[in-house]
Assembly symmetry: D2
Homo-oligomer: 395 residues x 4
């Protein structure tokens, strides 16, 4: 927190929220402009909680942690950091639309967690509004977290945390699985399935019965009519037959493409940096550029930097390789990054994916000519997607 504030690029509202919750009233106190330490700490001293949004933009540790989690979850991982003064509570009870992992970093916090109140709130699609104490029952869990503790609660579990009178609290909440349900997948899949069915199956293109408006409709829903039965059965059979047209794998690729846009870029270790384009020694020195040529040969051993940083998608416009290495630490600050690939490179990308985490020699790439192998490897190296086993040395 302190480091982020001193960095000088924290703005109220965009990066930092100042909040309070007392006597059932939840308030936000953000002024406008830059969040300078003297002003922020003054709010804190007056009992306000501080929520640092997007700590991954300020802390490399958080960035690294989330970038590993996102690959494990197959779904974007986000985070907020919360600092709460002793004896206060910053937020009203509520439930969220994400899986939550609370990591206590400093101090202590008293938590109460409640089961979903009804079936419709189990694993909900959307977060709740702020709730009142009167709307809550008995907590299913009540505990005090201390530094090092971890608390998990699923989508839909109501929760509230407050500080004991004698200790402040600093914790980070990691979230994932927002809009990542079967239903979210079907929202992509089913319009595509219907489109395909319309193109391929004349049954979907046949005209509706001329008289259907007369016996169908809510006003007729209790009428017994053979035409109603036939209409309903026809609709049901067409829905069922959508299964045959559902482009499941293509829809997964579309979700993967969106996911890669959501992803944080990978964090590189020092040695990974040295083995990648980011550590490549090209530089300006003594009035001229030095060590500029990327000398990849047939014997260069290469691998993907990470398994999950690329995705091949067959699109109308061609074969696209989406990748995360040029994403920003700030959500969607960059447009989706992709390279259009010659379709004959598809096998090489799949070979790199299946070989991971082992290195392969460029010569082993399943391209037709050596020139193509080197050209593809150089392209991927320049985008930070490929690393070499040894740092590339200039001749």
């Amino acid at each position: 927190f302190d480091a982020a504030l001193r960095g000088g690029e924290v703005h109220f509202g965009t990066h930092l929220d100042v909040t309070s919750y007392a006597e059932g009233v939840r308030e936000t106190h953000n002024p406008s402009g830059r969040a300078l330490p003297a002003v922020v700490w003054d709010f804190y001293q007056n009992g306000c909680s501080l929520r640092l949004l997007c700590p991954q933009a300020f802390s490399s540790t958080v960035w690294n942690f989330l970038s590993i989690l996102q690959e494990q979850f197959g779904s974007m991982a986000g985070a907020n950091t919360y600092l709460t003064p002793p004896g206060t509570q910053g937020f009203a009870p509520h439930y969220d639309d994400i899986e939550a992992f609370v990591l206590q970093l400093e101090g202590k916090k008293h938590w109460r967690v409640y089961r979903p109140r009804r079936d419709a709130e189990v694993l909900p699609q959307f977060s709740s509004a702020n709730l009142t104490q009167a709307e809550l029952g008995e907590p299913v869990l009540e505990t005090v977290l201390e530094a090092g503790d971890l608390l998990y609660f699923p989508r839909g579990f109501i929760h509230q945390g407050d500080c004991l009178p004698d200790a402040h609290s600093l914790h980070i909440t990691v979230s994932s699985y927002q809009r990542n349900s079967w239903g979210d997948f079907l929202e992509k899949l089913i319009p595509a399935a219907l489109q395909m069915a319309l193109e391929e199956d004349v049954e979907y293109r046949r005209g509706l019965p001329m008289d259907y408006l007369q016996y169908m409709g809510v006003a007729n829903s209790d009428t017994v009519d053979a035409r109603r039965t036939a209409f309903v059965e026809k609709v049901q059979s067409l829905i069922k037959k959508l299964i045959d047209y559902a482009p499941i794998d293509a829809a997964v690729d579309q979700r993967a493409k969106s996911f890669l846009h959501d992803c944080l870029p990978p964090v590189l270790t020092q040695s990974e940096k040295a083995q990648s384009v980011y550590g490549f020694p090209a530089r300006w020195q003594d009035g001229a550029p030095r060590d500029v040529d990327i000398l990849i040969t047939k014997d260069t051993e290469v691998r993907l930097l990470r398994h999950g940083i690329v995705r091949l998608c067959n699109e109308e416009a061609g074969v696209m390789l989406y990748y995360t290495t040029e994403n920003s630490r700030v959500y969607h600050k960059e447009e989706p990054k992709f390279i259009e690939l010659d379709p004959e490179y598809t096998d090489s990308i799949e070979f790199l994916l299946s070989s991971y985490p082992n290195h392969i020699t460029v010569d082993n790439l399943p391209c037709e000519t050596l020139e193509e192998k080197i050209s593809l490897a150089t392209l991927l190296f320049e985008k930070g997607i490929l690393t070499t086993k040894k740092p590339l040395v200039q001749v």
Copy 2:
């Protein structure tokens, strides 16, 4: 045609197209501005065809004819009128996205009709581009229409018509069933079904498997993997189960509502006019309004002007009665017209629908009080929806 042009409100492009098709080239020759007879007939004399769009706006006969057809078809009925000089052709061969009825009004026209060329063009969703003669096979029908003849061809049948050297041609083409297929219905129904399933069934809200991006996707489509099988079966069962959540009747009502917006207003006979608000004698005379009060009593006998001019829809905001009597003869020139009704009037509307075409007395309406009966009948009468058996006479 002549009458429309003399009316002075025909504009090139908006109401009238000037076209030609010669040596495989289809051209449009519309100048800008108003279509004055001297200019239009000059084009005709030079071999151009004339297409009058929306003749229902200029001719009450066409309006009346289409307003009857739309109710029969349960789908908007449109029309264009074509005037072609002897020995010429105005349009390239093509197929349309509508059912077509060609009525020869004057002169003769030589028609060639061709079957759809492949399965994907049977009952197509969209019209074709202009085709070349080389793309056509043998016609399934070749004939010369004379005044009074009718030619029908379905969506997707390619057609071209040209004039014999010795006779001009005037015909009207009536069209219907545009975007009126089972698939079009499913495009409304299925998103609503999925929305409902998400709300009511937790299976749709459960998270996707954490690793699905790894084994699903087009690149993995040939892989044998038990996880793939499980994923696909889960998706299929969820699609199938959509049947249980599909709000079929509500989706029909939504289509009915759109249809009522598309509809032409009804055409009234002289006696219907006298029995409706349009013939009501309220007027200004000798410095004051006369015969203003609409005196509907419990004994007034009423009925709907037409069966298909109203539709009840249950919407979030309330019970809405959509109606066509205030539509324009020009497509969608007016916004959808509706009245919000007290839900307790639902039965009365349904009673009026089921009694049609018989008259009922206002007293027979299933409202609670006589005041309500008269109030509802007066409201519907004022909108032109209800007619009385006898013209309302002033006391």
Copy 3:
């Protein structure tokens, strides 16, 4: 009024306002949709005033009257018609941004007119809000208009009219000179003058003094500083010199062009119609067009239909002839209508303008060839701009 309502195309809000003013409260009672006589007269019987907007769209008499006035005023002429029940008032006292001419058509109306209350309200740019009786002083005029009377009051004069207990009132208010002041003209002229000065005079392009922000500004307005004096004098001399760059005639043409777009189209007498393209006998008869060719010869005698229906403007894209004959009776329903002319036709247009109202023979047009003379005359005839002394007879 009655005729307009029976025409069936009057809509509340768009064409007709239902208003009342009682006990200092001004209300509008417009329902939605079409204004049917039974509903409108019911409002009237209950004491509401009716304002028919744009009566020129419903009455050819009003259209004709306004089309003559607009040419006299050199500014758009509009109108509203007001029908007020006995013993009521429809509007709160207020002043308008137009010159107003009230013509009493039927019944009587009691008017009170008040001088502008202060200098800033003399000939105001904008209309006032509704005023209260307490804000008014003594009327400068109080009178009762009877059928045939005319009352004029200028922009900024507050007015209110109410009906005597024993008589209704029907009057039309004709308005003109909206946004037609010297200041409105300068708003067009001065940006053009400055643009021209910037292009032609380096004095306007020289940089501002480096330090002017320090001694200029409201905070320094009382400071005595030679640099301030120099800055102010420089600005004043540059404003004064704008006079030399002001393209006065071109700015007038721009206003004229806007005015022609605002104009009503001219109303033709029966004989004018016969002499124009609107009466040209081209028609469809017995299966073919008849009398299509417009046979203008060197001896045809022609003139402009009206003097004010055309305006030549030199624009960047070329010489444009703007004209009003294809305007709509509804304000700005049509885009501005113009023909791009070969610059060498400029003299012919000016010759037609200066000859008006006399006829000239086509041969007298100052074009180079006879072909050009006939071509120009035919073009103008086809647009309804030119009439012939005798109806064009077919050979």
Copy 4:
């Protein structure tokens, strides 16, 4: 350059242009995405020039230099840095709309500078397109700049620079005075003057002559007509009288306000930082915030950080103090920053401005109460506008 590229946040197009000019053809070679050293230096090695846009965002030295210049010039100061390989030219000859100062940093560059070709290009408002060698005459100056040299040329002077075969070139071009001419000032001033004249002087609100469209306009410009003379004289007198209504000081304040939005934020020395809110010791330490209270007393000695960082503007909504301290180093990345002030603080702001660069005690501020003095000083201190003579020490 090298440091900027290594920083990793340089993007092609946004921050860096890769260009070439050979055989009269000027090309841009920007790929998409991030500009990594290996890729950038490869372009350079192949003879491309590099233009680093906005070097002030990457170099504090440039930022500092420009922030001083902007205050001197009273106009935004910008910069680009150019790196050119030996024996090449990166740009076609052209002129710019700014005053240009070329500082040679490394290597050498051969420059040719040409006078404006005609009066209309002296001190032009807009930059030229790329010119061909054939369009140029003889240079007014031809010289080779070496490291440490400075070349100035004014708006409108055509220039081209190329590298000698044996030396690369690195230079920075500082620009200012874009859109900062008397004409640009008049574009703000004159519409305001006309608005004021319309409100205050009825002469501007009087109607135009009814017949002016007939004798005015380009077609009449050669006509001798007393009405023309009168019209022109009236317009001229109204233009001249605008001088009386021109709100010169208010228009300067509006320009100052825009300028403050354009400005770079000030660069602080170490000691200035210690004396400002940016060095204030508020921090998080051992589980609690420390040294949070800003203890300004009546004896605290304060001054503005810089003279040009604030501007008072009287606006309709109130008295606004615009300031630059929260601007971004990237042009207009932040919205204009301002505080609404109680009008009674106006004198205190002016006192701070006139005392600069001397310190004053808070007690000397011309506010009514000591509480107000401290409140104002604290507010300005918190925004970074005010510094204290000694760092604020915590009790």
